[in-house]
Symmetry: C2
Subunit: 115 residues, 2 copies
DNA sequence: GTTACTACTATCCTTTAGTATACTACTATC
DNA sequence: GATAGTAGTATACTAAAGGATAGTAGTAAC
């Protein structure tokens, strides 16, 4: 595996971790509101189905972005919250947002702007 | 559309522009070698089918990353090359690669490392 | 004991992404 | 005139992502 291939692999790991329709919306919802329960999240993240929410939370947990906290009293209460590790995404997300916002304007303008 | 939604939209534009299995491999191939013809690219980017290569090149062109140059002599020769605009991806790609490389190590280690 | 909440899982379906491969229209070579 | 290269397109398929909706197991309130 040469340097270029390692770069592509790292890139794909990163894109896989934050890619898809819902992951960043869930992270965003948790960022805004702190710990949330499953059904609360389903109401907050508009349009997501419980199946998809469940899958995405598992992947977010596997990637270390989200912690699942079970409060064992009755009835069982489960909360999801962001980990400190999720903050490491900040720089890369800011870079993506800035580039994306600029790109959006550029494409809207029909790419007439120089360079 | 509030600020958060605009951020998500910008993010999705960015992820869409660089996402998928092939876009960055094509960009990478063009970066390494300068202008390339269609069939050259198909040989360089291992495993891509002509259909997908054709689709991806059209999207890359629409996004302003790639320029399609037709040399009208006979036989017709078509070359694809990166635009200066494609350089604007550099910072965001570097950030993604660094984060992804770190994340890969972290996940391999079973996420035992602090934070 | 019915209703409603908790946190999900299961099943099925549609849509999107990607793969495989044949084919076209043209030019050039042997 | 058969073969091979140019730059793709067309058709048909599989695989992965996501959507819709019903159901489960438990608790609690009315």
């Amino acid at each position: 595996m040469n340097e270029c291939e390692r770069g592509i692999a790292a890139l794909e790991d990163a894109l896989y971790a934050i890619g898809g329709k819902w992951k960043l919306r869930i992270v965003s919802a948790l960022k805004d509101s702190g710990a949330r329960r499953f059904n609360e999240l389903q109401r907050t993240v508009k349009g997501i189905s419980p199946r998809v929410l469940s899958n995405e939370l598992k992947e977010l947990e596997m990637n270390g972005f989200v912690k699942r906290i079970v409060h064992a009293q009755s009835p069982v209460l489960v909360e999801y919250e962001l980990t400190p590790y999720s903050d490491t995404l900040k720089d890369v997300l800011v870079a993506l947002i800035q580039w994306g916002a600029n790109h959006r304007v550029r494409v809207r303008e029909g790419a007439h702007s120089a360079v």
